[in-house]
């Protein structure tokens, strides 16, 4: 697996012609192997931006380039060979096993008639199951797993795609603290370029190399967490009073939030 450079230029999107613009011109450049956190309040355009990155929405303006290849100048399949996504969609229970779900990741690499794939496919699926410690669960039905296990299955499925860019939509949602930490640890350890939306600003600050702060569909900051997630920027974006405090025992910054004293 090699990491890709992600270049986003002048990207904007609205549902239909003349509709409300949900994402205003956004540009950033993410170096290969870096972890980008997309943060912002509900409705800030996080999901919209992610959907543009994994080629679900077609941009109204601008381009998304993975290693200098515009994802809309190549086929959906060619993009799927470079970009994988872990979304919040929960598969309905159609009796697929964990192993079968993970091997779905090989779909964009298969040619022609839907076979079970070659030896290489089996090796990749095997490695992905192993990496997420899912080997013992390979024959279980997805419906019988816990939330944390399902999340790991979906990550393993994305890794089986052998992507260079991995996109995650709120990967820590609905997970308990231990599973949150495990997922974040995994994200840090992957030799891929990663874009993830995160609700928790302190988690984002801890795990991300860069963050993109969105508000009302507009980017209001891109860069290292320490500079972007300033008290004023966060207070403004989330309409709260944010304070950066120092946790003494671990000596790291920690944001705390308070409702505005004089709410507008």
């Amino acid at each position: 697996m090699t990491a890709a450079r992600l270049t986003v230029k002048d990207l904007s999107w609205s549902p239909k012609r003349g509709g409300d613009t949900l994402l205003h011109r956004t540009s950033f450049d993410l170096g290969a192997g870096r972890v980008l956190g997309i943060v912002g309040p509900n409705g800030a355009g996080k999901t919209t931006l992610l959907r543009l990155l994994y080629r679900f929405h077609r941009p109204v303006t601008g381009t998304v380039c993975v290693d200098d290849v515009d994802i809309w100048t190549v086929s959906a399949r060619a993009t799927a060979q470079r970009v994988a996504a872990v979304l919040q969609e929960q598969p309905s229970d159609f009796a697929l096993t964990v192993g079968e779900i993970v091997s779905l990741g090989r779909t964009p690499h298969r040619q022609g008639f839907a076979g079970t794939g070659g030896a290489h496919d089996a090796t990749v699926v095997h490695a992905a199951l192993h990496q997420l410690d899912l080997h013992g669960l390979a024959h279980r039905h997805l419906g019988t797993l816990s939330g944390g296990e399902r999340q790991r299955v979906m990550v393993a499925r994305a890794l089986a795609q052998e992507p260079r860019l991995l996109i995650l939509d709120e990967p820590t949602n609905h997970l308990d603290i231990r599973h949150q930490l495990e997922v974040l640890d995994l994200i840090r350890g992957l030799p891929l370029t990663i874009v993830t939306s995160l609700h928790d600003l302190n988690l984002a600050a801890g795990v991300c190399d860069d963050v993109l702060l969105l508000k009302g569909g507009r980017p209001i900051g891109f860069g290292p967490p320490a500079t972007v997630l300033s008290e004023t920027a966060v207070s403004d974006a989330f309409r709260v009073d944010a304070r950066r405090e120092r946790l003494l025992p671990s000596d790291v910054d920690h944001l705390t939030f308070h409702l505005n004293a004089n709410r507008s």
């Binding site: 959906a76 979304l87 779909t107 964009p108 095997h126 080997h135």
Partner: protein, 351 residues
Amino acid sequence: MNDTAAHPSQTKRARATVALALFGLAALAVSVSFAISVGAVQVPLSTVWSVLLNKVSPGLIEQSWSQGREAIVWEIRFPRALLAMMVGAGLAMVGASLQAVTRNPLADPHLLGISSGGAFGAILALLHTGLFLGLLTVPFLAFLGALGATAIVLVVSRFAEATSADRLVLAGVAVSFIIMSGANVLIFLGDPRATHTVVFWMLGGLGLAQWSQLIYPLAILLVCGVWLVSRASALNAMTVGDETASTLGIPVARFRLTVFVIGAMITGVMVAFSGIIGFVGLMVPHVVRMFVGGDYLRVLPGSALVGAIFLLWADIAARTVMAPEDIPIGIVTGLVGGVFFIWLLGRKRAT
């Protein structure tokens, strides 16, 4: 579990699949034999096989049966059994595919109104337009009707924002009612002498099976069936979710539409030859998943096999419960399918 554990269990799984397939094919052969043997005139199984073998290679077995028996086996019951198998296999595969692309365990060509559309088209051809395309008129208009009904259901479900499983089925049932009332108007306006046949046909029946016409359902079933199986991994991906499927490189909207058109094609042609036979598409894939799991590479062939067997036995039941009268087979599948539907609703609540 260690690294090497996956391989023995995979071969075990493959072996189990082969064993199930052989068992299924054997069950199919037995079912066909019974379907030909049973009826107003009982034909011994040995005669059934002798006649069939003699047709395949003439003179293989010395003829010890009457011409009448031979005609019953070859001209009446064998084509009927073949039609039953094709209709069962086709409807079951349509149901399985629709369940994947709508991510809806309740999807079924009958419940989604596609069968009603097919019936509307077929009635139009039988009572009103005349056979302007010869023998192809009825299947062709049935296909157009099924396609039209599909389009209406899709528009209604978008309009009513029927994204959940239950609401999509409700949209389908509503459209089905509207189309059936349209079909009934066509019957009402039609030639009274012809309506009796049409009404009987609408309730579902395989009695019209003839050698000369079996080629149409066979061709559609083969072409569409192979296409669906070739898209098994895309169907698997669709069960996970639209956006995930799209990140796997599947053109989701176009693929779903294609599956709906293929489904309308199979359903329309089957309805044209057998009337409305409901619930096969709903029931069979669920039963198959219990045996072979959820991978569509196994679900689709399994559904075809089990659908064929199920419809053979439904037809046997339809011919024997009130012998010597045939009751419409739709009554049998409706009864079994309705009970199954209730069971499915109960099971969904339990999980």
